[in-house]
């Protein structure tokens, strides 16, 4: 019963147990675990050499030797050839069995150590890999351009890569911890020592720059970065880091920073509006003067806010031109009025150009105050225009006057001739005087003729009639009057559709238009900007007519229209001018066979109507 019990225990033991008997080592007992190792076929009674099962050949040899010598043997982590997926390792103990002091067999004892063996092998592989990585790390740290180092918690250097010695020129035997601080630039030394100590105390990494003395005595900017190696859960024990030379970058960015600061300072010091914009055309910087001038901050101005500063009548064109320049990259240039913080507008030239470099395109703009020049030019232009007009008027006046004087001179000549024939003079001196008078009269006539001819040729007043584009001529005239148009903020409407052409002398049409329009711009109603309408159309009789109608102050017309057109008859004594304008218009029109009509209402406006050809003459045509 006890034997049986023992057998049961043996059978169920988790280690393999078997007994081999006799010289041939036949299996006599195999427990369950051993049967699992030996395979499905029952080996009981078979010699071990026949049923080798998982045993490697050399183990079979060892079994023979143990049987022969009687010395027990343990084969550690012996790899068994089983059909299982992975290799199985067992510690196999071979014990001789003695029967009457004679070896009668072997006791086989196999303990599965596969898991332990696998762990051991992994450890071994890891060790190999670690050595490989270690070698690689060493190669890397010693070939990379950076200096690498390891510092302990007290700030003592554990390791520094050979590059440090190359860089500093120090011998490998030097005392690293003593010499390193001395190689730091005196201006940086305290800061560096303080910063690294603070980081070590706090258990954090660091990143700072300082100047380190190179082998040649030059100090070079270095970037020192290190991270703590954390030994959970306690204090970090080592900091590993690298030292990178950043001298050139630092010099460059220093120069750029300095350059930028200087440029900004410059831009802020210039008494001009200066701004920069993104490639999309959004202004991102306005200089200080822009803020001073406009009374608005960069924020209030906004990315297109400069447009708000322009005179309302100029904003649309300015915006359109800017969009066009952004789309095409063309430079921007124009003259605009810009509002100052006090509400006054001053003329500015706005220029902007695109800069393209490796940083991508940007726009740079400047607004130069040209108000004084602009106003001066305007004044000069106005004076010039006035002088030119006065000159023209005087010429025309001379011409018409000489023309008008012709008849009286002719009459004088007639009277004189009659007087000479009919009367006798006793005084001999009288005859002489008559001769002189005759000569003077001839001279006067000649002078008048020459005068008329000179002016006529100069001014083209007698130029033959040609077909004229009324709109063209009117636009030319308005161009000459642009200063007055701008100054009075006038709206001038031009409509020549009904009668676009006119057969007339060019200089004459110009003179008529100039006088009538400038007249309308002069006699402005104080409460409203002038609105002048110039219309060329055909009368009911099919004759060309020109109307110039304004909304100005108007005038009281005398019962007879004539005085309006008298020379020097000034309707508005408070307004400048030679007063010959309307007289000339009248003279030109009548001399070419037309007539001028005027209607006016005080406070409402005036309308001049030019009938180029006399109704009576061509009315039936």
């Amino acid at each position: 019963m006890r034997e049986q019990h023992l057998q049961d225990i043996l059978r169920r033991l988790p280690a393999g147990v078997a007994t081999l008997e006799g010289e041939e080592l036949r299996y006599t007992f195999i427990n369950e675990a051993m049967a699992g190792l030996l395979g499905p076929a029952d080996a009981t009674g078979q010699p071990v050499a026949v049923h080798a099962g998982p045993w490697p050949a050399d183990l079979l040899d060892v079994m023979q030797q143990v049987y022969r010598t009687g010395k027990a043997y343990v084969a550690k982590a012996c790899q068994l050839q089983t059909g299982a997926a992975g290799p199985i390792y067992c510690d196999v103990a071979l014990e001789p069995v003695l029967d009457d002091n004679r070896i009668s067999g072997l006791l086989l004892f196999a303990v599965d150590v596969t898991v332990q063996e696998q762990a051991r092998q992994r450890t071994h592989e890891l060790a190999i890999e670690t050595r490989r990585l270690d070698a690689r790390l060493r190669v890397l740290t010693e070939t990379a351009p950076q200096i690498t180092f390891t510092v302990d918690g007290a700030g003592r250097y554990e390791y520094v890569s050979p590059q440090w010695y190359l860089f500093t020129g120090q011998p490998p035997t030097c005392d690293l911890n003593a010499i390193w601080p001395l190689l730091i630039h005196p201006d940086d030394r305290l800061r560096v020592l303080y910063q690294s100590e603070a980081a070590r105390k706090a258990g954090v990494g660091w990143s700072y720059e300082y100047r380190l003395r190179r082998y040649d005595g030059h100090y070079r900017w270095m970037l020192s970065r290190a991270l703590p190696e954390l030994h959970a859960p306690g204090q970090p024990v080592y900091w590993h880091g690298a030292l990178t030379e950043v001298h050139d970058q630092r010099e460059l960015s220093e120069a750029r920073r300095r350059g930028e600061a200087e440029l900004r300072f410059l831009a802020d010091s210039i008494p001009e509006l200066i701004w920069t914009a993104t490639p999309e055309g959004f202004v991102e910087y306005y200089n200080r003067f822009t803020e001073d001038y406009s009374g608005l901050s960069t924020d209030e101005l906004g990315p297109t806010g400069w447009i708000n500063l322009l005179h309302p009548s100029e904003q649309a064109a300015a915006g359109r031109q800017w969009v066009h320049c952004i789309a095409t990259g063309e430079p921007y240039e124009n003259v605009f009025r810009m509002r100052r913080h006090d509400g006054r507008y001053r003329w500015h030239i706005i220029r902007a150009r695109q800069l393209t470099d490796e940083q991508g395109p940007r726009w740079f703009g400047a607004c130069t105050d040209v108000d004084d020049q602009h106003r001066l030019r305007q004044v000069l232009q106005t004076q010039y225009d006035e002088l030119a007009q006065a000159n023209r008027d005087l010429d025309t006046f001379v011409y018409t006057a000489s023309h008008d004087l012709k008849q009286p001179v002719l009459n004088l000549r007639g009277l004189f001739d009659e007087l000479r024939q009919g009367a006798t003079f006793a005084d001999p001196q009288a005859e002489q005087m008559l001769g002189m008078l005759d000569e003077a009269l001839t001279q006067l006539d000649l002078t008048l003729q020459e005068l008329a001819a000179t002016v006529r040729d100069q001014r083209g007043l007698s130029a033959p009639a040609e077909e004229l584009d009324v709109r063209n001529v009117a636009e030319e005239v308005l161009l000459g009057l642009r200063a007055q148009v701008q100054e009075t903020e006038a709206v001038v409407e031009l409509d020549a559709e009904a009668a676009p052409t006119l057969v007339y002398g060019r200089a004459n049409l110009r003179s008529v238009l100039h006088n009538l329009v400038s007249n309308a711009l002069k006699f402005v109603h104080p409460d409203r900007p002038p609105h002048v309408r110039v219309r060329s159309y055909l009368s009911a009789a099919g004759q060309p007519v020109l109307e110039v109608r304004d909304n100005g102050s108007g005038m009281v017309l005398p019962s007879q229209p004539a005085p309006v057109f008298q020379p020097f008859a000034r309707q508005h004594p408070h307004i400048g001018g030679s007063g010959v304008g309307l007289y000339l218009v009248q003279r030109i029109i009548t001399s070419r066979g037309g007539h001028l009509e005027v209607s006016s209402e005080v406070g409402e406006g005036t309308a001049f109507t030019v009938y180029w050809q006399e109704r009576g003459l061509n009315g039936h045509a």
Binding site: G281, F282, E300, G302, T304, I307, S313, W322, H324, V485
Partner: protein, 175 residues
Amino acid sequence: MLAASYTQAAALPAPRGFSFHTMKHIVYLSRAVHPLSDQDLQELLDQCRRDNIQHHVTGILLYSHGNIAQLFEAEPEVADALFERIARDGRHSHVQKLIDRPISARSFAQWSMAFHPLEPAGFEALEGFLLPHRVPAPPTSLSIADATLVELVCLAVFGPDTSAPYAQALPGAAQ
């Protein structure tokens, strides 16, 4: 018309310290994180239209080749909250606010979205969808500075070609 007309009202920024406004508008530019497919765009359109109608948000969104720009108008709290949400939206990045200003009145009657779908067929009938060349001119109720901003935004999103219709937009462009 020959001479300039002087009728355009001056559009000046609001005076400092002036705070009573019932509306504001915000304009921003951004970049889509990855190109938006027709389906992405339609989902965005549906979502925004639904939410914007609900919150009385009006304006326009422009999209092309990953470029995004949007102008929207709403009550200040609504606009600020919406911008917050949009700025955090993971579908785009580099959100760059260009303008954030009180306005006295809306310039857009509704909210719409303009882009080039790969398959335009299904889109043309969609409420709130516009082809880029159908984008209307910036409303005249915008100041000229703001209208110019909208034109530049359009140029930045669609490039010089498709923005052509906007070139007609600023007053006096026909001169």
